[in-house]
Symmetry: C2
Subunit: 252 residues, 2 copies
């Protein structure tokens, strides 16, 4: 593992439930030597990607990461553009809706609107979703370059539940179905009891850059509901794609 990747791994140890850690803790979690860990942290600190509390000596993510994110968001305001549409879809369906962005061979959840119902699906911002086991992933693959899909289908497909699609041929069939319908469907492929439909958000070139998904408890989803959610998520995803690619918002 290269030095740079080690440094980035350290950054990735910070999370919403654990946003601050001491040196030894970080070293243990990353399985790096304490001296190494410290040198990496100092390098990151010098550039503001990490900061150290003056009192507790614990480390946390620094203002530099916010700065970088702002630069990116100014150029590619994915969440900002999608937000109103995501909210509309959540209101329409009454179910949990989540928005994901492609990153490093997975989908990164960047926004969630939780259902108001007591029995609902919970998704965390920052969670990464595997491509073969979630509706979002399937929708993404269905609108990806075929070489990339082939490469992914050839890799080892982890089974998260008894329903996870792990055989290459079944996966390719599922992807083809999603491509022809415009949206994907997955029942309990990643978590037991969860049903999801998802549609791709497309770049100007017609390939997916992210996905929009509706997730509901299986108990609440029959064929009719699934179809309704599917059509709604496709409409919403198309709206987002349109605005991302410069199409003006519709009037009224």
């Amino acid at each position: 593992m290269g030095t740079v990747e080690k440094a980035v791994s350290l950054l990735k140890l910070f999370s919403v439930p654990e946003p601050e850690m001491g040196l030894s803790d970080l070293a243990r979690k990353a399985s790096f030597d304490k001296a190494t860990t410290r040198r990496l942290l100092m390098a990151l600190t010098r550039h503001g990607l990490v900061e150290q509390d003056a009192d507790t000596r614990r480390y946390r993510l620094g203002a530099g990461v916010s700065r970088l994110a702002r630069i990116r968001d100014a150029h590619f305001p994915f969440v900002k553009i999608a937000l109103p549409i995501v909210r509309d879809l959540a209101a329409q369906t009454g179910e949990t809706v989540h928005l994901s962005e492609h990153s490093a061979d997975a989908l990164l959840t960047v926004h969630v609107e939780l259902s108001a119902r007591a029995n609902r699906v919970n998704v965390d911002v920052g969670q990464t979703l595997p491509l073969h086991a979630t509706a979002s992933g399937l929708a993404f693959l269905a609108f990806s370059r075929s070489e990339a899909v082939g490469r992914y289908a050839d890799s080892v497909l982890e089974a998260f539940t008894a329903h996870t699609v792990t055989r290459r041929e079944r996966l390719m069939d599922t992807i083809r179905l999603a491509a022809s319908r415009g949206y994907s469907e997955s029942a309990q492929g990643y978590e037991e009891g969860v049903h999801s439909v998802a549609a791709p958000i497309l770049a100007h070139d017609g390939y997916a850059i992210g996905t929009l998904a509706v997730a509901a408890p299986v108990s609440r989803v029959d064929g009719a509901a699934a179809s309704l959610h599917g059509q709604a998520v496709v409409r919403a995803a198309r709206l987002i794609s349109g605005r991302l690619n410069g199409e003006p918002p519709a009037r009224g």
Copy 2:
């Protein structure tokens, strides 16, 4: 320079006006070898901190930086808390207002509300402000630990304009004035034609963690206006400090 710092330097080359670059361009700007630059970029890409456009082969900041920023913001919602107060101040003064956070011996602009007027000061999000040459920096130093101020004052102070304070004694005087008034003032110390006042945003321990500033064209600022801006920026900065440290928003 360590490998990690080189990688981070690459990230820092991206900016709001130039959010995408080719390999050779990046290598030239960073003064790294093309092969080195590419290896660093690949390491960053593997973790989603950088992404490469499939068509143009140009590089840009990736979704990973947004993810890290969300983790940090969940724990330390500086901008979110400050935003309404920053907007009020912008409305009150009619001038450009910018919010900065301390990071790696400089101030990082994390939010900007631009004046609606045709003749206005422009500040970019992500811009870093030197501590000795901007109103923000002076306000920050005026409320920093004296050892840190001493160390900074001993370093080489770059002159950005003919008005930049570069002599240690002048700097210390300016800082003392800011400390006693509660806000700092800088006329054309960083950019010609720009007048700014700034006040510190304080942590629970009373030391500055960031600043709030009002920037206006010198032509529009006389003594009375400067004083008004100064008082307004102090009020707004105090409100932000209070809410950051757990004080509830005032009613009405």
